[in-house]
Each structure stands twice: as structure tokens, then as C-alpha cells.
Symmetry: none
Subunit: 204 residues, 4 copies
DNA sequence: AATGAATGAGTCTTCATTCAT
DNA sequence: GATGAATGAAGACTCATTCAT
């Protein structure tokens, strides 16, 4: 049945997310995933074609979850620059609250062979595109001077990612969100904006 | 004997670098490494304790090579800010010329399980420290305003790394070095400096 | 399922008994055991945790079989001394008819490392205890004079084992059972009994 | 040179005795033997043809040592029965003082494959022959009644061996020699002798 | 749909043995 | 004679995948 099947798939993906985040893709066996999702190995292969296929589906599923949050946050931002900042802030905040998600997308995604790198890169590229579009628009609206929008977006994302990865692997800073104000100030200055918005603008 | 053993170890590491970069850690077998280094499997295990141990040694060896170049470049820079720029520029240029090194340190290092992540992080942290020290000094000399030196350094490194990773996985920009002027401009502006040095300063 | 799994385990143990007895623990490969039990290597590892674990299980399984026969024989003996004799006689007879069992329990069990020695010793000790209890009871009933029951039991068992081992390794005497009357006479005299039971007592 | 070579061989054998007794034949590597005898692997192979050859030589060497002591003890015994008792007592005492020797000859010798079993059996057979000859002579001299001398000798040896093995594996009795008086009484009674020698005979 | 027993190709690792120095 | 680096055959064990029930 559609309903049950979907639920089961969801349960497997959630369990797989936990397991892969804890043990890494290479070190995780299908047995572990089966146990974690209270299924049998046969069940896994009914819903997913292979170990790689399951992981790929997981990357997509997790990527969706992240992108959805990012886009939602962007939707309620007043201007292009604020949208870009909202995007980066949301990335930071989401990963801060979902370490497994972070491990999966930022660490495991990269190290497990070409197939996964392509998927992880695609997600990153989508983030870069979202932010790049904002920058492009900000340039068009004259909010900031001309620049290479994609490169700038990539640099910003890279900065955020690096901070998150450092946090993942060392636990510092304790509250990842604390890093964001500094980062935002850097980002704003890097495109010629003052580090803080003009007075009277409330922070989200 | 010392001499022979050292040479053989070097040869194994160089071969392993190539193989791991091409196939990834997980997909590479010790047989392949043995073949690539024109050794026997037993020889590998005479010089390194295990597959993981070999990879760890390789990460250290490759990290050394990178750091040596970075520090050399920094030595000939006139002021703190130039030193930081030299460091980042050298990272970019070195990886640009040694793709296998880049794959190893930026991709395989992070994705292959806890043990390697620690090693890869240590390297990144050493780069951050080098750059952070420059920034600290620049602040002390009044060249730039006060800031969180480590965070800024990490953000810069992350930006560079992201650009390199994107290049590794997509091949763009064709000439990785082309990205650096833009990045440097971003970096400089992000700490309140003009995007270009004063006139009369030749670019390296 | 329970049924299938149990049968398979039994089949593996029976096959392993043959192979280990023929080739010895050290020289036997898991492939050989797999082939002999018409299973796959993976099947072996599904039912047993390791080569050592399989051998340990085998020692226990074989020990059970022996002990069961011994206890059965003891049950139908009229008095304590007869019970002890029945025990030793059954040991001799059982091994005489199941050379693989004898090789396994008397030779391979001892030589294959601490783990197995403990198991083999436990079995021997259980035999000693059975016989020792008989002797104890015989003393209590005044059938024989006071003595160190456990030591005597161990000495008797050792004598029987030595004879069996010699037979295993040299093939003499051709009919192992022929040795028993002499041994029994020795045993009986060693505790002050006449070498043969009083007249009128039928021999089993 | 003869002298040096002999010493080196001796050193290797002594070291090998310790190592094999501690770790067992199967689990011991030539590297360990080399290290324990402060030699190199090459050195081992200069003096002994192979791992098996070394172990075989060791069994012979250790067997010699035991037999020499046994024969020496027998030489000073006044009559056949005393010689047999001296032999068994010496076996017990020697092993009691040289656990490694005991482990080697009684445990490792039997469990390590056909080749070694033959060697270990040969040693046992020589002991049995020594004792059997005594019994034969005792019969001839009319000291004891007619019996199967070899079988009796084997039974006696087996009893002693079993007690030693039990001591090796469980540590009881703490002082192995304490078991001998009881055993001797059993042995004497088993051939129709009184458990103690006539008065006035001092115990060795 | 689900289960878990079964398969077997693939890998890491060990270690006896050799041999150039 | 001695050393220890090198070899490679062999073997334990894993695990993705299949399939009868």
C-alpha cells in the first residue's frame, strides 16, 4: 500500500541518517541500517535498490529538508541582501540543530566516492545559486557594487561550511549560532556594505 | 637499512597518493597500492601497520608538503596582510598544480571515518592558525580594525577550500588561479581594506 | 527458522568433527569445513562466530555426546564400583568406535591453545568427578578402604586416556577393548579389591 | 665455528622452549622466537631448516633432558620396583620444576599435527619401555606376580601425566609433588604390593 | 511485503621463507 | 655468520545481495 510503503521508506531513511552519521558510509553495513530501522535486510532491498542507492536517496532526502528550510527563510526576507543572509543563517542554524544532517551532508557526502560527491556538490551548487541570485539582484538594484556573484556566493558558503565542519569535529564554538554575527559582518563588508544594517531594522 | 627503507617508504607514499586520489580510500585495495608502488603486499605491511595506518601516514606526509610550501611563501611576504594572502594564494596554487594532493586532503581526508577527519582537521587548523596569527599581528600593527582573528581566518580558508573543491568536482574555473584575485578582493574588503594594494605594488 | 537453522548447525558440527579429526585444528581451513558440510563460508559464519568459536562449540557438542553415553552406562550398574568401571569402560569403548571423537577430544583439544585446553580440561574434570563420586560412595559403603577419591579417579582416567592415545597414534592394540580387562584388574587391585568380581556375578 | 654455533643453537632452543610453552606452537611466529633468542630471523634459518624443524629439534632436545634425569634417578635405585617408582617420581618432579618443559612435551607436542605427535609419542614410548622393563624384571625376580608389563607401565605413566596436565591447566595441587605418595601407593597396590615399602627403607 | 538464512566474491592481514648486503 | 627488508601464497572474515518461505 502506498501509505504504509511511504512510511516505511521514511523510517528507513531516518534511521539510515542516524547510522551513517554516526559510523560513516563506508563503515556502515546494511545489517546495521536494517536493525536501526527495525526492518530486515530483505525489507531494505525491497524499498531501495542497493546500499549506494539507499545512501543516494538519503542524500537527496536530507538535501530536500535543508533546502526547504532555507527557501522558507528566504521567503520572508525583505530585500536581496537579507535573503542571502537568511539563507546562510538558516544553513548554520539547521545544521546546528541537526548534527547528523550536518555530518551526512558535509562530511560523508564528500568522502564516499564519485557518485556521492556529485550529489553533495549538486546540493552545494543549489545553495550557491540561491545566494548568487540574491547577490545578482542586489547588484541590479544597486544595493551593492558589481561583483562575481557566483564566486562570492561560493566563498560565503564555504566560509559557513568550514565553520560548521570545525564545530562538528571539535565541538567549538559550543553554540554554533554564536559564530554567525561575526560571519555576517565579514560577508557584508566583503561586498562593501556596513557590517550592521541601518538603524531601526530589527534582527530576526 | 635506513637509506633503503626510507626510500621505499617514500616510494610507497607517492604511489599511494596517486592511487587514493584516483580511486578514493574505500575503493582502493592494498593490492593496488602494492602494484602502484612496485612492491609486494608484504612490503607494504612491513613499512606501515595497516591500510588505515598507511593512509594516515599519507595524510601527514601530504600535509607536510603543503604546509612547507605555504610557510615558504609566507616567509617572503613584506607585511602580515601580505603573508595571509600569500598563504591562501599558495594553498590555491599548490592544489591547482597537484590535483591528487587536493583530492586527498580536501575530499578523502574528510569523508573516510573519524580517524582521518581528525588528521585532516589538524591540517586545516594549522593553516587557520598561520593565517589567524597574521591577522592578529595586522590588528596589533593597526593595519586593520579589531576582529575575531581565528574565525576570520577560518572563513577565508573555507572560502578558498570551497572554490577548490568545486573546481575539483566540476573542473571550473578551468584555471583555478583565476579565481584568486576575486577572492583576495573579497577577503581584503571583509576586513576593511581596499580590494587592491596601493599603486606601485607589483603582483607576484 | 528454528528447525532449519538447528539442522544446519548440526550438519556443520558433524562435518567439522570429521575434518578437524583428520587434519587437525591448525591445518584445517574454514573453506574445508564449508565444503565438508556442503555449506558456504558465509553460512559457517552465520551460525558460528569464528573458527575458534566453531571449534569450541564442537568440543562442547562432542563432549556432550560422550558424557551422555557414559552416564547412560553408569545408570544401569548395580553398585558404585561397577558404576566407575562402567564409566571407564564406556569411555574406552566409545572412543574405540569413534576415532574422530577421540582425536578431537584427546589430541586436538589439548594442543590448540589456552581456550581449547580449558574446554578439554572441563570435560576431563567432569569425567573425573563422575568416577570420583562413585569411589567416594564406595568408601562410604565400606566397599573399599579410605582414599583420595578425586586423585584416584584422575589416575584411572589418565591410564585409560594414555592407552587410547597410544592406540590412536600407533594402532595398537588392534582392538582397543581388549585392553580393558587388564586395566580394570589394575584399577581394582589399586583400591584393594580382587581383580575379578566374586563368582556368580555375571559380566556385562 | 663449532663452539659458537652450538651455543647459539642452545640459546635458540632455550628461548623457543619458553615462547612455545607460553604461546603454543600454532600461535608462535618465527619473529617471536627470533626476538626471544636475541637473533634475527635469518639466524634462525641458518641453524634450523624450518619452523617445524625447529620445533621438532626442540621436542627432541627437551625429551633428552627429561630422559637423562629419569635414567639418572633410576640408576641409583636398589631394585626394579624402586627403579620404576624413581622413574615416575622423577617425571613428576622434573615437570613440576619446569612448567615450560611440561607444557611443551605434554600439551603442545600432542596437539600440533601428525609430525609432532609421532615425536611426542616416541618420548612417551621410551618412558613406558623404561618402566615396563623394570616391571618385567620385577616379575622375573618374583617380586610381583605376572602381568602385562607394557600396559601396566603405560597405565602408570598415563596416571602421572593426567595429574601433571591437570596441575598445568588448573594449578592444583599447588605442590605437584604432594600427589606422588598417593599415586605411588595406587601403583604398588595395583601390582599386588603393599602401599609402603617395608620398614627401615628411607624415602628418597 | 517481510524475513533471515544462505551465498561467495573480495579484502585485509599474517607469516614462513628467501636473499642481497 | 648475521641481518632485516622483501616476497607472495594462504587464510580468516566481511558483507552486499539474493531468494525460499
Amino acid at each position: 500500500m502506498q501509505q504504509r510503503a511511504q512510511e516505511r521508506q521514511r523510517r528507513i531513511l531516518e534511521a539510515a541518517l542516524r547510522v551513517y552519521a554516526r559510523r560513516g558510509f563506508g563503515a556502515t553495513t546494511m545489517d546495521e541500517v536494517a536493525r536501526a530501522s527495525r526492518t530486515s535486510k530483505g525489507g531494505l532491498y525491497f524499498h531501495f535498490p542497493s546500499k549506494e542507492g539507499l545512501f543516494l536517496a538519503l542524500l537527496r532526502y536530507a538535501g530536500q529538508r535543508l533546502l526547504a528550510k532555507v527557501q522558507e527563510a528566504m521567503a520572508s526576507a525583505p530585500d536581496p541582501v537579507a535573503r542571502a543572509e537568511a539563507a546562510l543563517g538558516t544553513v548554520l542554524r539547521t545544521f546546528s540543530r541537526h548534527r547528523p544532517l550536518a555530518r551526512l551532508l558535509l562530511l560523508e557526502g564528500l568522502g564516499g566516492g564519485r557518485r556521492f560527491q556529485a550529489e553533495a556538490t549538486a546540493l552545494r551548487q543549489r545553495c550557491v545559486a540561491l545566494i548568487g541570485d540574491c547577490l545578482q539582484e542586489a547588484v541590479a538594484q544597486g544595493l551593492i557594487g558589481p561583483l562575481d556573484a557566483e564566486l562570492t556566493a561560493r566563498a560565503w558558503l564555504g566560509a559557513v561550511v568550514e565553520v560548521i565542519v570545525h564545530w562538528l569535529l571539535t565541538g567549538r564554538p559550543q553554540r554554533l549560532e554564536d559564530a554567525y554575527p561575526h560571519l555576517r559582518a565579514l560577508f557584508r563588508r566583503s561586498v562593501g556594505l556596513p557590517p550592521q544594517e541601518a538603524l531601526g531594522q530589527p534582527l530576526p
